[in-house]
C-alpha cells in the first residue's frame, strides 16, 4: 500500500510499504477514507518528539471502512468507523476510570520502557506518534491495523459525511476535554491561547459549557477570524500586549480559566521565548512554553489553567510562584478520546457542534508531503487538511475559497 512515512526533520515521503495484517484476535484492519494532519504532527515534522524511527507511518486522525476482522472483534466488514488516536485496552484500571489515554496495556512491553524512564510510568499507546507511545503505524496510508477494536472505533451511521465526524478521532474531544478541564462556570471569561483546530473546538466547547465570554489569542489573521465567527473576542499578540489586554478586558480580574492550545513550539515575542528557541536549537532545552507561562501569569487568582497543548520534555522558568501564590489549579493530559466520542457524535448529529468550518483543504495521499510543508509554512491559509487516499494525485480541493499552490 501507499503510506506517508517520516524520514527525519522536515522529510515526509510517500512510500510503498507492506499492507497491515491482523495480529491479535481483537484487531481489525480498516481501509482509510479520510485522515487528517494534526497540529501535533508538526512536532514530529519538526523533529521535536523523540523515538521516531525513519520509515514510521504518520497519522493519528483516522477513519475508514472495516475490511478485515479479527476473531474476537465485534465489528463487521463494511462498517464505517472513526478511530480514536489513543489505543486503549478497555480492561485496565485506567480504562475503567475512563482515563483512556493512560491505558496501562496498550503500549507494548518493550516500547513502554522508554516512557517509563522518561516520565516515571509507561504511557498509553497512540497511532503514528513515535515509539514512546508504542510505535503503532499511523493511518496516513491506505490501510490501518486497529488493535482493541472493541474499545476505540466509533461506528458511524449512514448519512453523515466523513468531514462531519473525522475529528472525533482527536481534535474535537481534545478541544472538549480542554474546556471540561477548565471547569467553566456560568458567567466565566475563558482565554484560549492558539486558534488552531483544537483551540477552535475549545472555544466552541467553552460556549456550550456556559462561558460568558471567550477571548482567543493567536497571530494568524485567518485563524483569528474563525475564532471570531464562533463568538470569541480576539487578540493578535503581535498587535497588543496580551497580559495588559486581558487585565483591561476583564476589569482587573483576569480570565477565570486559561486554556493553552499551543504547546511546546510557541511563537512569542518575550525574551524568555527567544532564549527557549536558542536552547531548543542548540539541544540545551526541549520545550518552548511561552504561551503556557503567559496563561499562568494572566489567570485570575484561584483560576484554572487547562493544558491540551503538547509538551514533551523539561521546562525552564516555570512561574511556580505565580502558580502557587494565586492558588491556581492546572489540569492537562492526552485526551481520553473514548470517554467523549458517544456524546460528541450525538451533538454532531443534533447539529449542536459545527465540525467542518475549519477544513481548508482536501488532498490525496500522494500530495501528503506538499501538504505537510503547507501545514508548517502557511498556517494562516491551511487551517485543516484532510487527506483522502481515494483522491488522485494533484486533486487538491480547497474549502474556504482558498487556492492551492504546490509547495
Amino acid at each position: 500500500m501507499r503510506a506517508l512515512t517520516w524520514h527525519g526533520r522536515h522529510d515526509v515521503r510517500v512510500d510503498t510499504v507492506p499492507d497491515p495484517e491482523i495480529v491479535n484476535p481483537r484487531d481489525v484492519i480498516i481501509k482509510i477514507t479520510s485522515t487528517a494532519i494534526c497540529g501535533s504532527d508538526l512536532h514530529l515534522f519538526d523533529g521535536y518528539i523523540p523515538t521516531m524511527r525513519a520509515g514510521d507511518i504518520l497519522g493519528h486522525e483516522n477513519m475508514g471502512e472495516v475490511v478485515e476482522v479479527g476473531a474476537k472483534s465485534p465489528l463487521k466488514k463494511g462498517q464505517r468507523v472513526v478511530i480514536p488516536f489513543t489505543v486503549s485496552c478497555g480492561s485496565c484500571y485506567f480504562c475503567g476510570k475512563q482515563q483512556f489515554s493512560a491505558c496501562d496495556n496498550s503500549n507494548p512491553a518493550t516500547t513502554s520502557d522508554m516512557s517509563e524512564t522518561l516520565y516515571g510510568y509507561p504511557m498509553g499507546g497512540a497511532f503514528g506518534y513515535a515509539h514512546l507511545t508504542g510505535g503503532y503505524a499511523g493511518g496516513q496510508a491506505e490501510y490501518l491495523r486497529v488493535p482493541y477494536s472493541d474499545v476505540g472505533p466509533v461506528v458511524i451511521p449512514d448519512g453523515i459525511s466523513d468531514d462531519q465526524v473525522l475529528f472525533l478521532s482527536d481534535i474535537l474531544p481534545t478541544g472538549w476535554m480542554a474546556a471540561e478541564n477548565a471547569e467553566i462556570e456560568p458567567g466565566d471569561t475563558v482565554a484560549v491561547w492558539g486558534c488552531g483546530p483544537v483551540g477552535l473546538f475549545a472555544i466552541q466547547s467553552a460556549f456550550l459549557m456556559g462561558a460568558h465570554r471567550v477571548i482567543a489569542i493567536d497571530h494568524f489573521p485567518r485563524r483569528l477570524e474563525l475564532a471570531k465567527q464562533l463568538g470569541a473576542e480576539i487578540l493578535h499578540f503581535r498587535e497588543v500586549n496580551v497580559r495588559e489586554a486581558l487585565w483591561e478586558m476583564t476589569g482587573g480580574i483576569g480570565p477565570d480559566a486559561c486554556i493553552d492550545c499551543v504547546g511546546m513550539e510557541a511563537h512569542g515575542l518575550g525574551i524568555d521565548n527567544i532564549l527557549d528557541t536558542v536552547k531548543a536549537h542548540t539541544f540545551l532545552g526541549t520545550d518552548r512554553p511561552a504561551a503556557f507561562r503567559q496563561a499562568i501569569l494572566s489567570c485570575r487568582k484561584g483560576g484554572r489553567v487547562s493544558v491540551p497543548g503538547v509538551y514533551g520534555g523539561m521546562m525552564d522558568k516555570f512561574p511556580i510562584g505565580a502558580f502557587m501564590e494565586k492558588g491556581l489549579t492546572m489540569k492537562t493530559g492526552q485526551t481520553h478520546v473514548q470517554k467523549y466520542t458517544g456524546q460528541l457524535l450525538r451533538m454532531i448529529e443534533e447539529g449542536k457542534i459545527d465540525t467542518t468550518f475549519m477544513i481548508s483543504h482536501h488532498a490525496s495521499l500522494e500530495d501528503g508531503p506538499d501538504m505537510y510543508r503547507h501545514w508548517h509554512d502557511h498556517q494562516d491559509t491551511y487551517t485543516k487538511i484532510i487527506l483522502k487516499p481515494g483522491l488522485e494525485k494533484g486533486a487538491v480541493q480547497t474549502q474556504q475559497e482558498k487556492i492551492h499552490e504546490p509547495a
Binding site: 495484517e21 491479535n24 524511527r53 485496565c92 484500571y93 507494548p108 509507561p122
Partner: protein, 231 residues
C-alpha cells in the same frame, strides 16, 4: 605560590587575570568538594535495623543484601486466585515470558526450563518448587548443576478492594561471569531486571485483555515484517 602572585607591583594585567583565574578555580573546587561531602552525607546508608516498609529489591546499594536481587511489582485487575492458577501451570508461562523457550513439568514439583540467553545462547536448568501457597505464593530454586543458579518467588497480594492484585516477582540469580555477565546481558536486554519488568507487563496484558499487546504494523523499513513486534 599565591604569595608570589600577590606580591610586587610589576605583575601587570596578566598577573591579575591569572590570579583571578586561580581564585575562581579554587572556589569551584571548594564548592565541588562541599557538594561531594554533603552528597555523601545525605546519601550515606544509615546504620541499624531497616525502617522502610518497602520490598528488599528497592534498597540502596549499601543496604541491599544481594546485588543480583531483582524485584518488580505489577497490579493486575484480576483475583489473586485466578492469577495464581494461571501461573502455577508453568507451561502457560511461555505465552508471556519472551525469553522462555519451553517449560516441561517433571515429577515432584520439578520442571525443566529452557531459556534464551544473551547472543543466541541457551540456558537450561531444572527448577524445584520450594513454597506453594495456593492463591498467595509460588517460590522455586534451581537444582544443583544449573547453568545460571537462580531462585524466584512470586507473591499474589490483594490490592485495595476492587483494585485487583499486586503481583510481585523477586528473583536472585548467579550469572555466568558475575558482574561482567550481568553488564553484557543488560546491553543485550536479556538482563533479568529488564526481562522481569517486561514479562510482568505482558502477564498483565494477557490477564487483563486476553492478548499480549503488539504494535506490529507496516513501516517504510524494508527489513521489517508487519506482523512482528520490533523494539
Amino acid at each position: 605560590m599565591a604569595g608570589f602572585l600577590l606580591s610586587g607591583d610589576n605583575q601587570g594585567r596578566d598577573g591579575d587575570t591569572l590570579q583571578r583565574t586561580l581564585i575562581g578555580a579554587a572556589a569551584v573546587a571548594a564548592a565541588a568538594g562541599v557538594a561531594l561531602y554533603v552528597g555523601r552525607k545525605l546519601s550515606g546508608a544509615p546504620e541499624g535495623p531497616l525502617l522502610s516498609d518497602a520490598p528488599a529489591s528497592t534498597l540502596r546499594g549499601g543496604r541491599k543484601p544481594d546485588p543480583a536481587l531483582v524485584g518488580r511489582t505489577v497490579t493486575i485487575n484480576r483475583s489473586a486466585q485466578e492469577l495464581y492458577d494461571f501461573w502455577r501451570n508453568f507451561e502457560n508461562l511461555t505465552q508471556f515470558m519472551d525469553n522462555v523457550r519451553s517449560v516441561e513439568t517433571l515429577d515432584g514439583g520439578r520442571s525443566h526450563w529452557t531459556i534464551a540467553g544473551p547472543a543466541g545462547t541457551e540456558v537450561k536448568f531444572v527448577s524445584r518448587i520450594t513454597e506453594d501457597q495456593p492463591g498467595r505464593v509460588i517460590a522455586w530454586e534451581s537444582e544443583e548443576g544449573a547453568d545460571v543458579r537462580n531462585t524466584g518467588r512470586i507473591e499474589f497480594i490483594d490490592a485495595a478492594p476492587g483494585r485487583g492484585t499486586m503481583v510481585r516477582a523477586t528473583i536472585t540469580y548467579d550469572p555466568p561471569a558475575g558482574a561482567i555477565g550481568r553488564a553484557v546481558a543488560k546491553v543485550l536486554q536479556r538482563e533479568p531486571n529488564v526481562q522481569a519488568r517486561r514479562d510482568l507487563r505482558r502477564f498483565k496484558q494477557l490477564m487483563e485483555t486476553g492478548e499480549v499487546t503488539s504494535s506490529a504494523s507496516p513501516s517504510g523499513r524494508r527489513s521489517e515484517d508487519p506482523t512482528k513486534q520490533y523494539l
